[in-house]
């Protein structure tokens, strides 16, 4: 009688395809995975504890370091939470600039997601093209707020710098590039039989399983549930913009890849509308230097690039928050990793990590 023995393979904190310091303990039978247990905490920097000893203005740069690929969306979430707590009204022009920056950052983040997926499956050229196109977005950010990655641009009450004409011109140039580079990825990756065979039908997930595991963002939409907080809550000026939500059917890696590709096209559409609708006017509301929000708590959620990004802030009337909890989408999506890797081969677990696309700064907070 054939007796096989399972063994434990440790995809350690340093592994080319675990996107940073994620450790996954795989229990393997030959090359088939029986159990995948993620070990987190290698990048736990205790941001929630640090925020308790800093004023609201000083907490904002810390949100840049959470999901360090989409820093704008983190600033956006935290700023909206504090504005709701302190009752600050943001001028319309600042709202539109915020939406433009958040959507540009969504494209930036999805480009990295698709680039690392291609690189982990072996096509490193795909990654190089994604990073080349990402540089044009970083030029816009560099022009507007002076930094390439940790922007600290969306402030409580508005935005730090105005949307200059040079930034508008760069954005227009970028919007023309978007359909070109999306079609290039279709030619290079989507049409490629080896690429499609590697991700079609791999780590599929039904809508019920995804909802039970509390997954949100592209991973949930890939299973067919059209839940997008930009449409559901309609926060900021998303209510006035019309865009549709791309949805997959089987919830496998192919649908996650397709949802991200279509979302980039949608984000470009949103930026197009914002550029046309942006009014002139102030970019910063009147915010007291020593901001003391009233005693109480608030939970404000926005659609981050990887799912529902929520900020739960309890204030006790002083300038420093009493407690800040950050509902991190990548952290909750990690629960789906075990389900996605079960029964797959080692090669597929690699595509599972890069289609969940966890950012360890956000997972370990």
């Amino acid at each position: 009688m054939k007796r096989t023995e399972t063994y434990l393979l440790n995809m350690g904190p340093q592994h080319p395809s675990t996107h940073g310091v994620l450790q996954v303990k795989l229990t393997l039978d030959g090359e088939r995975i029986l159990k995948a247990e993620p070990v987190l905490g290698y990048l736990h920097r205790g941001i929630e504890k640090l925020m308790e000893s800093r004023t609201y203005f000083q907490c904002l740069p810390y949100t840049d370091r959470l999901d360090y690929i989409s820093s704008m969306n983190n600033n956006f979430g935290f700023a909206m939470a504090v504005e709701e707590l302190a009752g600050i009204e943001v001028p319309r022009r600042a709202e539109f600039i915020r939406v433009i920056m958040a959507e540009l950052n969504r494209i930036n983040s999805h480009l990295i997601g698709i680039g690392t997926l291609a690189n982990d499956l072996g096509a490193s050229t795909g990654m190089l093209y994604c990073f080349r196109d990402r540089e044009y977005i970083l030029d816009i950010f560099n022009e507007v707020c002076g930094a390439r990655q940790t922007f600290h641009y969306i402030r409580i009450g508005g935005v730090a710098g105005d949307f200059t004409d040079k930034a508008r011109e760069l954005t227009e140039a970028f919007l023309e590039r978007v359909p070109k580079f999306l079609s290039e990825y279709d030619q290079l990756l989507t049409g490629n039989e080896i690429f499609t065979r590697r991700i079609i039908g791999i780590s599929a997930m039904t809508a019920k399983e995804a909802l039970d595991l509390n997954m949100t963002g592209p991973n949930l939409r890939a299973t067919g549930v059209a839940r997008d907080l930009r449409k559901l809550d309609g926060y900021s000026v998303y209510g006035e913009l019309d865009f549709d939500i791309p949805v997959g059917e089987h919830g496998d890696n192919w649908d996650r890849y397709q949802v991200k590709m279509k979302e980039m096209a949608e984000s470009a559409k949103i930026i197009r509308q914002c550029l046309d609708k942006m009014p002139e006017g102030l970019i910063m509301a009147k915010v007291p230097k020593m901001l003391k929000p009233p005693k109480g708590e608030v939970y404000s959620r926005t659609e981050g690039t990887r799912g529902e990004l929520g900020f739960y802030i309890v204030s006790d009337g002083t300038t420093k928050p009493y407690r800040v909890h950050i509902r991190r989408p990548s952290f909750v999506n990690m629960q789906g990793l075990d389900l996605m890797c079960r029964g797959m081969l080692i090669g597929d677990s690699v595509s599972a990590y890069s289609s969940i696309d966890p950012i360890m700064g956000e997972v370990d907070c």
């Binding site: 905490g41 736990h44 039970d212 595991l213 997954m215 939970y299 529902e308 629960q335």
Partner: protein, 167 residues
């Protein structure tokens, strides 16, 4: 949350069949519930056809120096509204039933609350620390957490012919 909060009579209807639930008169009052009746309340909120709070948006704990509150934000697409459920626990050995029986997706967040705040969840499938190293003493997010950092491990250079690079 940009969504609306439950109206007073909806809250009253929920309070109807639970006697340990207390709702005070704030503008958006959280539902305080005792650990014993916590799981039935969550069951009701999730499965009742007129409520359908199917999405557990946020699960966290706040340390109020005398008690530790575990906070649950639930959201229902059917009603288009959210509700806040809070459970008070005793400070020195907090213990409340785990909600993974109702919301399986809360497993990691409960482990994080146990790891950083020290609230034990009975009935949780895998009650271990998730972020801090296994042998870490204490729970960092508590207000009375005192900790001085140990000396980190030092790498030894095998050949060492080049003298130690100056610190």
């Amino acid at each position: 949350m940009k969504q609306r909060y439950l109206t007073a009579e909806e809250l009253a209807r929920i309070k109807g069949n639970f006697y340990t639930v207390s709702i005070d008169e704030e503008e958006k009052p959280p539902i305080y519930v005792s650990p014993e009746e916590f799981i039935p309340l969550m069951q009701l909120l999730k499965t009742n056809p007129r409520l359908l709070f199917t999405h557990l948006s946020c699960l966290t704990a706040v340390d109020w120096k005398d008690t530790i509150d575990v906070v649950y934000y639930l959201f229902s697409e059917y009603l288009g509204a959210y509700v806040v459920v809070k459970v008070k626990t005793i400070r020195n050995h907090p213990e409340i039933p785990s909600v993974t029986s109702v919301f399986p997706g809360a497993e990691f967040e409960e482990r994080e609350v146990y790891d950083l705040m020290g609230v034990k969840f009975t009935g949780h499938p895998d009650m271990r620390r998730i972020l801090m190293p296994e042998d870490f003493k204490g729970h960092p997010l508590r207000k009375d957490f005192k900790y001085e950092k140990p000396a980190p491990p030092k790498a030894t250079r095998v050949s060492g012919e080049e003298e130690e690079a100056d610190a």
